[in-house]
Each structure stands twice: as structure tokens, then as C-alpha cells.
Symmetry: C2
Subunit: 191 residues, 2 copies
């Protein structure tokens, strides 16, 4: 009984949401215009008027998705700042956009253009990873040996969060994040 026809931006936003939800549910291989339209409760024609393929639509949706918060180090407690950075990561991992990003990166070999677009539109604009931001900050203020900042050490935190997520099929909790920092990250930094 409510005709209420969506238009313009509101409609596009609903379609973007539908696309992310659809990817999370069906995977990249199962992403179809028909499915997105159904979930957004609109018509296929509306989609085709704006995008040529489901992938173009998806890249747009990712570009519009809320950007991740950037860690703001307190600069006087490295351990707490690292934990905060990894917590930001796990917070992001439960968002719809994260599911889509996971799908794209893990199927990169099959859809390289998509992965490329993801990096260009989402990752590159944001500067660097979570822990790297913190570590660079501490290195710049002389509280950390810059030689300890390598492509390996700056990835340890994120790597373990992802690995634990895969192995246990759930996002690591505060205790596990603390263990990552205490048992892996800080020792590798020489602390």
C-alpha cells in the first residue's frame, strides 16, 4: 500500500547494499544482475541503465562503502596502540564490505580486473595497513628502531588475525588480539 518510489541516490545506495549482501551470500561467481535486482526490490532495467555488468556495480559499491577508520596512535603506549589497531581491523571484518573484499582477494586469479579495481579504489586511497600506521608513527618519533620495520614485521599482526579467522571461522576476540601483540608482534620488534 506504499507506492513510495525510490529515486536517484537513495535508490543507488539500496542497490549498492544489495550488491554487497549478494556477494557475501553467493560469491563472485554467483553475482548476477537478476539477483541484485531481486534483493534490492527493483527491476533489472534499472541496473542496466547505470552499469553494464555486476562487477562494475560491485566496484562502485565498494568505493562508496564506509572507509575504514584510521588508527590514531596515542604515541605513549605501543602495546595499547597495536591492540587498538588490530581491533579496528576486526571491527571492519564484520562489515558487509569486508565479505566482498575477502571474496575478491581470494578469487583474484579468476577476476584480476576486479582485484585491480579494488586496490585502485579502496586500498590505495587509504594509506597502508593498520599496524603499519602505528609502527611508522612510533619509528618516526624515535621510540622504535626503524630497522625493525620490514615488509614482514609490519604484516605480522594482520597476518595472524586473518589466519586465526580462517582456522576458527570466527573473528579473534580481545584476548586473542592481545596474545598476537604480546607473543608475536612485540618480540619481533625487539621488545
Amino acid at each position: 500500500m506504499t507506492p513510495e518510489r525510490r529515486r536517484g541516490e537513495a535508490l543507488v545506495r539500496a542497490i549498492h547494499e544489495a550488491a554487497l549482501a549478494e556477494v557475501a551470500e553467493t560469491g563472485l561467481g554467483g553475482l548476477t544482475m537478476e539477483g541484485i535486482a531481486r534483493r534490492a526490490a527493483t527491476a533489472k532495467t534499472v541496473l542496466y541503465r547505470r552499469w553494464a555488468t555486476p562487477f562494475e556495480l560491485l566496484v562502485d559499491a565498494l568505493g562508496e562503502a564506509h572507509p575504514v577508520e584510521v588508527p590514531t596512535p596515542a604515541a605513549d603506549d605501543l602495546r595499547a596502540d597495536l591492540i587498538a589497531a588490530l581491533t579496528l581491523l576486526t571491527d571492519w571484518m564484520i562489515t558487509p564490505a569486508a565479505g566482498a573484499v575477502l571474496a575478491i582477494t581470494s578469487e583474484r586469479a579468476r577476476y584480476p580486473e576486479l582485484a585491480e579495481a579494488l586496490y585502485r579504489k579502496v586500498f590505495d586511497p587509504r594509506g597502508g595497513t593498520f599496524t603499519a600506521t602505528v609502527l611508522r608513527h612510533y619509528a618516526a618519533s624515535g621510540r622504535l628502531d626503524p630497522r625493525r620495520l620490514t615488509p614482514i614485521t609490519t604484516q605480522i599482526g594482520e597476518a595472524l588475525v586473518f589466519k586465526l579467522s580462517i582456522d576458527s571461522d570466527r573473528i579473534p576476540g580481545p584476548d586473542e588480539i592481545a596474545a598476537i601483540v604480546d607473543e608475536a608482534l612485540l618480540p619481533a620488534l625487539g621488545l
Copy 2:
């Protein structure tokens, strides 16, 4: 001009190979009986006589895939043994079965039965991970503090190998594996 009709085991092996190759190329969502049959150069009927779904077929194929070598620590050079263990991992990662395993784990949320079957048929029979085998060995012979063997530290090596693979879209080389051991693993073990 070669009628040469495959039968029994030889045929099944060819079908298994086709299934793994098909998963690598199309993803789990795109895995179809039709596609596997086409790639194996046989008829759909042959597949349906043995398996009810592409997923059953795939699980069988994984069970038959060459099991991974188990690290055999030399017990007098931890660093070399860790590097050897991670090299075994990267060697495995370029096999067809690894592509299928990656697809299944990354799409676990969509096909939980598949992931469950994977663990039951492939991971569980093999005991533990690559570096964990080495570390347990050294801890048992008293050359390593057993308290250093935590769910975190035993995962650092594998976690970084996977993370680097995802980020750079290629398998880490010998220098990168050495860096993982020297900059992340050994420090976390207190060495």
C-alpha cells in the same frame, strides 16, 4: 583415431584431476558436472553413476590428492628446519589441490559442509601444521622452551606465508621465507 576407452580407476583419476582443475578455474560456485565432464572428456552420465553432486566428487578428489610431505626435522638446526618446513608449504601451494583447498576455505561461509569434509578428509589425517611439527620436535628434545609453543607462535610462519601470497599474488621465495623465520618466528620463540 584412438578409441582407447578409459575404465575404472584410470577414468576416476582423470575425473578427479579435471575436478581440481575446474575448481581452480571457475571457483566453487561455477563447479558443474557438465564442466567437469567436458574437461575430463567423458560423458555426464559417467559422473552421475558415481557421484550425486559436483561437491561429493570434489571431496573425493581431495581425498585422493597427494598428501603433503611431513617435515622431518634434523633437530640440530632450528632455523634451517623452519625454513624447510615453510618451503614444503610453498611447494604444496602450487599444486592443483591447493587451489581447491583455498577456494573451499575462503568460501567456507557459503558451503560449510564442504569445509567440514575438507577438514575431516584432508587436514585431520595429517597431524598439525608445517612449522608446528618442527617446533614440537624441538620442544620435546628440550631445545626450545615449551611455553613458547602457543596457538599464536605455531601459526606465525604459515600466517605470513599466506599473507604475503595474498598481498603480492605470488608464492614467497626463499629470501622471503628466510626473512619470515629470522624477523618473525625466531624472535617470537625468544631466540
